[in-house]
């Protein structure tokens, strides 16, 4: 874990210097929220639509920046250096930690901006929203990391990332939308246990599958 944390620190320091992912994420968050804001205009949107659009912003913003963890290494040719200094487990854990950081940062900004812009996005059950936020972010981070590792070896990285991510993230997004709507309309946690269970299972399955598969993906 210490090695993975060092790799995370390396990526964090590198990100602070290059702004590879943060700039892309910031631009996409602003652009997608602005487009939704202009499309909606003066219309009053329903709670379920507010929850759905919230996840649209999250999905497209994630697609713009979260692939950077591996793509930047591949594009700069430093993947080989990483292979020489760390085991595949360390590499995956380090990149996963970095994507957790980016995902939480991105979604915190999205939530604040979204709540400021859209009146319909008022959270009535904050505890449920917090659980959804944490489990959703973890699922998004682990899926984004393993998909980034797969597409970093491919040619058309930019196109492939959202195309490959969509079916893998679909269960997470659908459950996330449902739980966000529950949080907005004030549904109690007891009544949302099935959805929370699905989200937790998704995270565990993706994490286990990613650790098992990463060795094969990472090595040519």
């Amino acid at each position: 874990m210490k090695k993975a944390y060092s790799l995370f620190l390396k990526d964090f320091h590198s990100e602070m210097r290059t702004r590879y992912a943060v700039n892309a994420l910031a631009m996409f968050i602003i652009v997608t929220i602005s487009i939704i804001m202009f499309s909606v205009g003066q219309e009053k949107i329903s709670e379920s639509l507010a929850g759905g659009l919230y996840w649209v912003v999250i999905f497209f913003s994630a697609m713009s920046g979260l692939s950077r963890a591996f793509v930047s290494e591949e594009e700069r040719g430093t993947s080989l250096t990483l292979q020489l200094i760390a085991s595949p487990d360390t590499v995956f854990s380090g990149k996963f930690l970095f994507n957790i950081f980016l995902t939480f940062l991105m979604n915190t900004v999205i939530t604040i901006l979204y709540a400021t812009v859209f009146d319909a996005f008022v959270i009535k059950n904050f505890a449920l929203f917090l659980l959804t936020f944490i489990l959703g972010n973890l699922g998004l981070a682990v899926s984004a990391t393993i998909i980034a590792a797969i597409i970093s070896k491919a040619g058309a990285k930019g196109t492939l990332y959202p195309v490959l991510s969509f079916p893998i993230l679909l269960p997470l997004i659908l459950t996330g939308v449902q739980l966000t709507v529950f949080s907005i309309d004030g549904t109690k946690i007891d009544e949302a246990l099935v959805e929370l269970g699905i989200l937790l299972s998704y995270d565990v399955i993706m994490l286990a599958a990613s650790y098992m598969l990463f060795d094969f993906i990472w090595k040519d």
């Binding site: 090695k3 390396k10 250096t81």
Partner: protein, 212 residues
Amino acid sequence: MTNYSVSAENIRKNFGRRLIFNGINFNYSNPGVYGIAGSNGSGKSTLVKIISGINAPTAGKIIHTYNEKKLTFEHLHNHIGLVSPYLVLYDEFTAYENLNYFAKIRNVPFDKEKIDDLLNRFLLLKRKDDFVKGYSSGMKQRLKFIFALQHSPNLLILDEPVSNLDNEGKDTVYKIIENESKNTIVMVASNEENDLSLCSEIIYLENYKTTK
């Protein structure tokens, strides 16, 4: 004798239908300099990557042992030092930052005295706090040697070790090879006669181009 050994058993590599080499066998357990020679495109770098565990062979296997225990490829990274033209260090960091992160990620101590000595030998001590993106190709090549040596590897693999280096840099590299080969297995992949003259055994890849 060293407590490290590397051996190859019937290594074959194909890229699609194209055979790169076949039937490579060796067993190096004594400190010394061992060469890999061949013309451009003969597969020197491919063999280097296979020995380093970066690429897998199409057939056969590479066995690394340390203290008579077989090492899995997941645990090779602290035993191997590699210098090669396709190795890229982080441009956005200084030389010192690069080496510090490599030590931390490898979970080995950052031996400041040793690093400063290596930086001094490769004439980079005064530039240690400069960003690598400002380095010339020769300086980057020197930094790769420090990267390969900082964790005192048991197996040092040098692919085209003197490329981009001036005469002073080449002399330093030859001294390093001579010094390291007293206790370490050093493998050199090159076409340069000067490099190959240091080797006690040489694998000529042109001799491994048949399927028989």
